[in-house]
Subunit: 144 residues, 2 copies
DNA sequence: CCAATAAAAGACTTAAAACTCTTTTATTTA
DNA sequence: TAAATAAAAGAGTTTTAAGTCTTTTATTGG
């Protein structure tokens, strides 16, 4: 469904959203450990998301990654679009360059429905709603 | 959603299903042209599907790929499973090795729903139902 | 049984994704 | 203002997916 890069990105964003609840910044080492990802790899990914304005960071002692309040309103769909583009949401399921209602591939309509469902689901999943849940072991992000 | 290999596989299977309607065999060159894929690449893919029993082939003059009647009852879900495995249908959306109702990732339930929808949709799409539609330009498989 | 045909098989190359390592830059605090 | 800290940047490597090329094997019709 997503690239590995994108999976790491989503996990990291949810992780930081949780930790960033009270405004604290969180370092890349802790993030990497928390989501079980290679440190330098997730660093690159978060740098990229930072440039695109989806997350904030500060260098130096007590630095790290965090969210300004507004950015917590971004959704997982926004993260996916930033990393993997919109192929998942709008591309043809069979990989055809041109595929539309007017000139559909054989499974165009069925695909359109599930693609829309996926988009709506991810669009509804705002980062704010992940500020709870991790600490009380309801959910997990670093299981191997 | 699918690997390119899997996209080619699905397109080829639908294409052959259509051409195989009256029992004729269809050569790899025609398939490659019909679905706009590299000839040797789709050949390998169909060899693989052949070994797994999802499609039949015969060498020599008038040889080619075709379906025995029973194999037309395979679904696109079967093709996807044969090529990409069942990760799409049963894997965790965030790539976690262990993710279940008992120990869910933060978006487990939402993902389970769309994964099930995708599976049901692809399971319902039997190859038999693609034996019409291509010829009268209702659908297309080789658009660039 | 021979020549032509067409898939099977295997070895290979290319391209993209995933991941690593080192150096640089910014920030803080003593 | 110097030392420590932590992200940014850049240049790599490794691995996997995608695609190509050549040789072999099976089948058929003359």
């Amino acid at each position: 469904m997503f690239s590995k890069t994108c999976e790491y990105a989503i996990r990291a964003m949810i992780f930081v959203a949780h930790k960033s609840k009270d405004g604290t910044k969180i370092g890349i080492k802790e993030i990497a450990k928390g989501i079980d990802s290679p440190e330098h790899f997730i660093a690159k990914i978060l740098q990229d998301l930072g440039k695109k304005g989806l997350i904030q960071s500060l260098k130096g002692p007590n630095g790290g990654f965090f969210f300004e309040n507004e950015t917590l309103n971004y959704s997982i769909a926004d993260v996916v679009t930033a990393i993997d583009g919109n192929k998942l949401f709008s591309g043809c399921g069979l990989g055809l360059k041109e595929c539309s209602t007017a000139k559909p591939c054989p499974i165009h309509n069925e695909f359109k429905k599930v693609r829309d469902d996926i988009f709506n689901m991810l669009q509804a999943a705002k980062l704010t709603q992940f500020t709870d849940g991790l600490e009380n072991n309801l959910t997990f992000l670093n299981r191997k």
